[in-house]
Amino acid sequence: MNFLSIFVLIPSLMLLGLWAARNIKQIRAVMVTGASLLMVMAVMLAYLYVRARSAGDTSQMLFTSSMEWYKPLNICYAVGVDGISVVMLLLSAVIVFTGVFASWKMKLQTKEFFLWFSLLSMGVFGFFISIDLFTMFMFYEIALIPMYLLIGIWGTGRKEYSAMKLTLMLMGASAFLLMGILGIFFGAGGTTMNILEIAKLHIPIELQRIFFPITFLGFGVLGALFPFHTWSPDGHASAPTAVSMLHAGVLMKLGGYGCFRVAMYLMPEAATELSWIFLILTGISVVYGAFSACVQTDLKYINAYSSVSHCGLVLFAILMMTHTASTGAVLQMLSHGLITALFFALIGMIYGRTHTRDVRELRGLMKIMPFLSVGYVIAGFANLGLPGFSGFIAEMTIFVGSFENTDTFHRVWTIIATTSIVITAVYILRLVGRIIYGEVENKEYLSLTDATWDERLSVIVLVAAVAGLGCFPLWFSSIIGESTLPVITQLMSH
């Protein structure tokens, strides 16, 4: 039994535990135990990983193991982690943990909610540990399906519509993905589904030209690639808090991770050749999301468009195809995951009290709920890339990396992308100025209370993570950096 499988095992055990749980206390106990255990395991994995690396283990993936489970297509349950997966697992663990606390007061069908939530976590963790294309795809689907129910049942607003839209668009994307995966599998000779082994083989360039866009698109939709991002605003706006957190925080990262790990890594020639198309799209995403966020009136929409912008930056950086930029991309995934989860958690908490997310109605929250407001301001600063928070290091790494491309095309798009940091400042400050500051206008709000302990815990953990990453980036940056190198080498060698 491989150590990594524990990340799939724990959510499965949580499912069992929830199934057996009889009342809300037991449900919470199961969730907290499971989520904490996941966090501990993620930290331990990071520790083991670093120890193995410093002991001189230079193989690309550590803790690998492979178990065949469908011979005719050579499908294996193959797992393994490198630095990118390790930090992604850490991110997922943190967000699952805080998500549990953010949905502490879930009333409606609590058990079912957490059942689906655990299943979703299982998919996410499974995705990050797998190195077999098919297993990866399977976990991806596992993560996708619970979304529909979670939004459709526990959501707010136009939840059926949003759930349907989100699921359909992502399922459409996964159809592309399946095509891409099969293309890669057969293009590489049909002998293996293992990413590491495929990387050593060569896929004919004609096939790469067909399957690279398909695969990239398949993952890119999940990474909110323009113009396939429209599921994001509606989906996030309707989803319950913890689901928004997990979805924007982790699930959207599956897109960037997959683009990098599968599309770019396995089809380097086509990637070099065709990156410009997607570069234009992602560049548009970055600026477009930021501009759209400026005039939204729903807090969650603002954040969703902001996510479009920031996740666009992830793909943008990946496509820049330099070592620094791709390191920055992973940092940005990490950073955006934490920040956006923090945002959604806070928005959920504010909404739970005021029952509105309309920025035109909220005002003077600082006076009523100082803790949440300060959290919101911090999240805002982190989002606009203030030094000391994770956004800054990620964005700077991306921009420095992007600048390593000397041709005019890349330069121009880099400069266009940098303007997003100003636009981000515009909408964040507008928002903070409008809802946090000012006098309380609605007298009914005066009786509202500040965060309770469970909410405080989840906010504090996230803020600490954001600030920790922002103040001490060296460790993360270096373990990510050494893991992005093989992919970049692969890209450069062609």
């Binding site: 839209k165 323009f226 400026c294 390593e404 100003v422 400042a425 400050l429 100025g433």
Partner: protein
Amino acid sequence: MEQYSITLLVLLLPLAAFLFLGLFGNRFKPLTAGLIATIEMAATTVIAYFTAFKYFTSDRLADGTFATCIPFDHVWLPFGKTLTFNMGILLDPISVMMLIVITTVSLMVHVYSLGYMKGEKGFQRYFAFLSLFTMSMLGLVVATNIFQMYLFWELVGVSSYLLIGFYYTKPSAIAASKKAFIVTRFADLGFLIGILIYGYYVGSYSFEYSVHIKAIAAAGTVIPLALGLMIIGGAGKSAMFPFHLWLPDAMEGPTPVSALIHAATMVVAGVYLIARLFPLFIGYAPDVLHIAGYVGAFTALFAAVIACVQTDIKRVLAFSTISQIGFMIVALGVSTSTDPHHGGLGYMASMFHLFTHAMFKALLFLGAGAVIHAVHSNEMKDMGGLRKYMRVTHFTFLIACLAIAGIPPFSGFFSKDEILVATFMFSPVMGYLMTFIAGLTAFYMFRLYYNIFWAKPCELKAGHDGHVHTPHEAPAVMTVPLVILAALTCVVGYIVPFGKFISSDGSAYHIHIDLKVAVTSIVVAVIGIGIARVMYRGASRKIADGLERNFGLLYRAAVKRFYIDEIYQFITHKIIFALISKPVAWFDRHVVDAFFDGLAWIAHVAAAKIKGLQSGNVQSYAVVFLWGIIAIMAALLFITFGVFWLL
């Protein structure tokens, strides 16, 4: 190097104070929190002075310069293999000088704030932010590389934002803080791109140019571009035209904050940036430097003109600050070489002026704060005749006014004189222009002075407690910093050996007064003061009103600050929001999203139609079945008999 290890505390102490007060501040009584911050600040000041003392008394190198010390320099964030983002401490004459300026003014402001902010809600928060600002500003000046500078540059921006928006329930304060942050951030975009270009071509962000001299030389033509972009960032922070518009609005913050951030320290960051990059400018991009100088000169003139007609005393001071920073930039901009004797004088003059200006401008602001504290208004019309009530404030304010007007023996005279000398060396036209602006400065400062302390006695207003109360002198905790700063203003001009420590090439330079220039400037200043005295000293404002009437258009334009704010409003609201964001959002909802909704709709409709076929009605099935057979038969007939089988 180890001897400067203690300097690290200069950064860590304020940071600790910020975190401590930020997290636990509300557990303490306001005054306790304030005292904690103030004591911490005093400790920081002591360390900074200690460092400065040690540094300036250390042995000079063989070429007569002070060694640049880098006690700390650690990789903070690696970019790829070679390029790294370091964090560290760099000590050289200007950074050490800045340490002194910042800690001195900051300490004064801390002490002053204990009195000024008494009873305000959020007292703890205020001190936490002050500590944050101090930390960031100190981090900025001791940065070892341009990226670290950028990092702290952003942090001072945000602490400025937080402090301007301190009264967060006041809409104007919120708007002002937002404006300040966004305008400077927009400018910082230029700075960032400049850094990116520089870093890529030079392969390092470090300020130790000598190490990378080859790479810099190889980079060639992109260096001026990079430097030009960086100057944009500097212009944003230092409120140079056209980024000046945030500074007057920033006066919405508490007055001590204006003194610290928006007069003495943060706004001179742009000047400091140019000074930091000075060798590069001289070596590779003198033209860019001169352009900056012209912009500085224009800004100085522009701001001085506006300052002459503003009625809000803090705004007058704000425009005066802009104008004075313009002076500093001009001084740097007219430099043509690193030799202080031939064209490099401006560097020293600029730093000198930065130093003296910090003192007297902080004094002016704190004095203004005391006045505002007494009359509860920012408007000149609510003041007048205050000299009787507030003797200490009056006296110290007068000293500061004389200093800024350039009257000997106060400090401003010396530094301004050096600037004028440097300017005349560069071009006489520029020199006369700057002298004229110096005169204007004297005029508007004394307009301010006479309006506050002389003129008609102010109307005594009923306070909120119902009874009329006379303006009274501020408490000792506020006047003491005033007196200290006034004393400094009197004496720092005599640090004649200033040039010994700081000069463009690092070697000692003996400051001497150019009599011709000095006399001219004094005469001009005195004329300015005289006009102001005639116009504003008395209770009647006949001349002033007459002038306002006769130059109506110009006057109104100046009062409206030449409509730059309106243009800004137009750009942000009309262009960014109405012309870009709204259409983009509309496009997103009605085109992109509608496209996918349309796809779903098509699928839905098609499904409904196909579902209709599957009705469960056998008769319908039979019809389709029959037609199927007919079609097959027709096809077979067609194959057998061809098209004309009917015939």
